[in-house]
């Protein structure tokens, strides 16, 4: 929700910038898909790399947008009870969730993805399809496997600071 996301602090600004920049790729996806369709059905030409670029942008969008989505509290919650909780209660749930779920998950994802990404860079991986995306697009995309958890964890830090403030302030 927009009203609960005051644009304070460096962490929020980072998430916001990355998310808004990445969001342009949604428009690009629509346009490029349209071009691919026109090329295929009108000119009978299949451009594999162009088609792969749509998948590439799609993946980059949701991975790089994850922190922004967290900042705006748009990751779906089961809010049967959360909805009726006091501000303080909610802050406690958030802080607990960050410590028990979000940070461990982000840490684990970044940790296990590290080698996966490093290997891709070191072998100069390119698309397996002939005429697909050349190096370095595939390693670049794999790199978001590390970037996503890092940015989400940082946004989690902003969330934690806010939660602590709420818990203190409500006393």
């Amino acid at each position: 929700m927009n009203d609960t996301a005051p644009h304070t602090g460096l962490l929020d600004r980072i998430s916001d910038r990355i998310g808004l920049a990445a969001s342009w790729m949604t428009l690009a996806m629509v346009i490029v898909t349209f071009i691919v369709v026109v090329m295929r059905y009108v000119f009978d030409a299949g451009l594999i790399w162009l088609q792969e670029s749509v998948t590439w942008m799609h993946a980059a969008v949701f991975m790089l947008g994850a922190a922004h989505t967290l900042q705006h509290d748009e990751h779906v919650r089961v809010d049967v009870f959360y909805r009726d909780m006091s501000e303080r209660r909610r802050a406690i749930v958030d802080l607990f969730g960050l410590l028990a779920f979000l940070w461990p998950m982000c840490g684990f994802l970044a940790f296990t993805a590290w080698d996966f990404v490093a290997v891709s860079w070191s072998i100069g991986e390119a698309s397996r399809e002939a005429g697909g995306l050349p190096y370095p697009w595939i390693p670049l995309l794999k790199t978001v496997l590390v970037l996503m958890p890092l940015t989400v964890a940082l946004q989690g830090l902003a969330m934690a600071l806010r939660a602590v403030q709420t818990i203190r302030g409500a006393r």
Binding site: M29, V30, T33, T55, H58, A66, R90, A113, F116, L145
Partner: protein
């Protein structure tokens, strides 16, 4: 260690109720269980090392690329006020008809709900748009709220909804798995297009039944659905056509090209997104500010959906690691009543889970566990997908826990009592159950259209 799997499932449901975002609760809880297992030597940590590869598989899943594109199309149609226009015009057009406003709410719900995968969003939009008008026209709160809840959730099961795209993708994998376990190594496939085709007739059947109920109520009980007294302002044909034709043409073109097998869902969604942009430009509704908002919305809905998928895949990795799917397999196989018993149990469990989990979570968490087993028993994958979809929609409507009811309560005026919402939705729940029974008795309602279109 199957009991660990059961404990994991129970723990996840319990912890989700606390209200922390689903994606991280799913993944985080699974990690805690995996960690405990590694420490006690009951969980093979090597299972988790394939995780980055699995996530990269999600990122490059070509079927699911259709999701953000459909979201983009839907959000654009919504922000360009095309839905509002449609509702107003249809309402005016049908005003002569008894129950006309109710009918137009149903039709618009069917058309517009395709845009988002979140139960709440459509119900809220429909509630804000049409509840005040319906009450002003003298509709009883019961029938007004019932119609809105039912129509607001209806769009989820009518193609081209993103729910069906996701369910289709999960079904594809499940069907392959099922056939491999049956020893069929050149498996038949099921696609998102099949599911779209299969859901069309049942979806329209539901629309028909809703409309029938509203019209019959209008005739039998005019106090609940009063005839509309014309305020003298007649809508011109030009206005009707200009509000109605472009969005309808767009939706039919998108759906038609998929059903006719001309385009993949992804291609159709991309062209649909372009069409929606064009419509918005022609209506002079597209400013840079609004475009930014459309892109931002698409990004966060997409991120929300796919992070749940990532969390869910971590969950199912650990669930499988503890032998959870074997346990579920044994239970389903050993039920009295064989396949019927298994389907009834699965549907019942999903119905109950629908009280706490949204469509996306159930699709990504529960369906991959149960669908391969049920399909290996010989069920038709398209039929199963459609049954799951309608079953969940019913769950979202059922008092006192149905999702849709909470969301509508949130936007309904105080004068409308919660009890009225509950009473109002009950006939629609009955219609849903009737539809489920019909589909169970006559599976060809689902399988006929895909067979005609794709001949399998």
């Amino acid at each position: 260690m199957e009991w660990m799997a059961l404990l994991l499932f129970t723990a996840v449901i319990g912890l989700l109720l606390a209200g922390f975002p689903v994606a991280f609760t799913l993944g985080g809880t699974a990690l805690v269980f995996a960690g405990a297992g590694v420490l006690t030597g009951t969980f093979n940590e090597a299972l988790l090392s394939g995780l980055p590869n699995r996530i990269f598989g999600i990122m490059t899943n070509e079927t699911l690329v259709a999701v953000p594109l459909f979201v983009f199309m839907g959000v654009t149609l919504e922000r360009a006020r095309i839905a509002e226009d449609l509702l107003e015009t249809l309402g005016a057009l049908f005003s002569a008809l008894r129950g006309g406003l109710g009918v137009s709410v149903t039709v618009v719900g069917m058309l517009l709900a395709a845009s988002t995968g979140i139960v709440g969003a459509t119900v809220v939009t429909m509630g804000l748009l049409s509840l005040p008008t319906m009450l002003k026209r003298g509709y009883s709160p019961e029938i007004a709220t019932g119609t809105i809840c039912a129509s607001g959730t209806l769009g989820q099961i009518i193609p081209p909804s993103i729910i069906l795209v996701m369910l289709g993708d999960v079904m594809t994998t499940a069907y392959q798995q099922a056939q491999l376990t049956m020893g069929n190594f050149s498996p038949k496939t099921v696609s998102v297009g099949d599911l779209f085709a299969g859901a069309l007739v049942p979806g329209l059947l539901l629309v028909g039944l809703y409309i029938l109920y509203i019209v019959v109520t209008a005739i039998v009980k005019p106090s609940a659905v009063p005839p509309h007294e014309s305020d003298g302002s007649r809508v011109s044909l030009v206005r009707v056509l200009s509000a109605l034709v472009p969005p309808l043409a767009l939706i039919f073109a998108v759906l038609g090209s998929i059903l006719a097998g001309i385009a993949t869902p992804t291609e159709a969604a991309g062209v649909g997104g372009m069409g929606a942009l064009l419509l918005a430009v022609l209506r002079r509704q597209l400013t840079l500010e609004r475009l930014r908002e459309i892109m931002r919305s698409t990004l966060s809905i997409s991120s929300m959906v796919f992070l749940i998928l990532i969390g869910a895949s971590l969950f199912s990795l650990v669930f499988r690691g503890y032998g959870g799917d074997d346990a579920v397999h044994q239970v389903l196989e050993s039920l009295p009543g064989g396949i019927v018993g298994a389907v009834v149990l699965v549907m019942l469990v999903m119905f109950l889970l629908g009280f706490v989990l949204d469509f996306i979570e159930i699709t990504f968490v529960v369906v991959p566990i149960v669908a391969p087993i049920l399909l290996a028993m010989g069920l038709d994958p398209v039929w199963l997908g459609v049954m799951i979809a309608i079953n969940l929609q019913t769950s979202f409507l059922t008092p006192p826990f149905g999702f849709a009811l909470f969301y509508l309560r949130g936007v309904a005026p105080e004068a409308v009592s919660t009890a009225a919402i509950y009473r109002g939705v009950m006939p629609f729940v009955a219609i849903q159950v009737l539809a489920l029974i019909l589909l169970a008795l006559f599976p060809s309602l689902v399988t006929w259209l895909p067979a005609v279109l794709y001949g399998n």
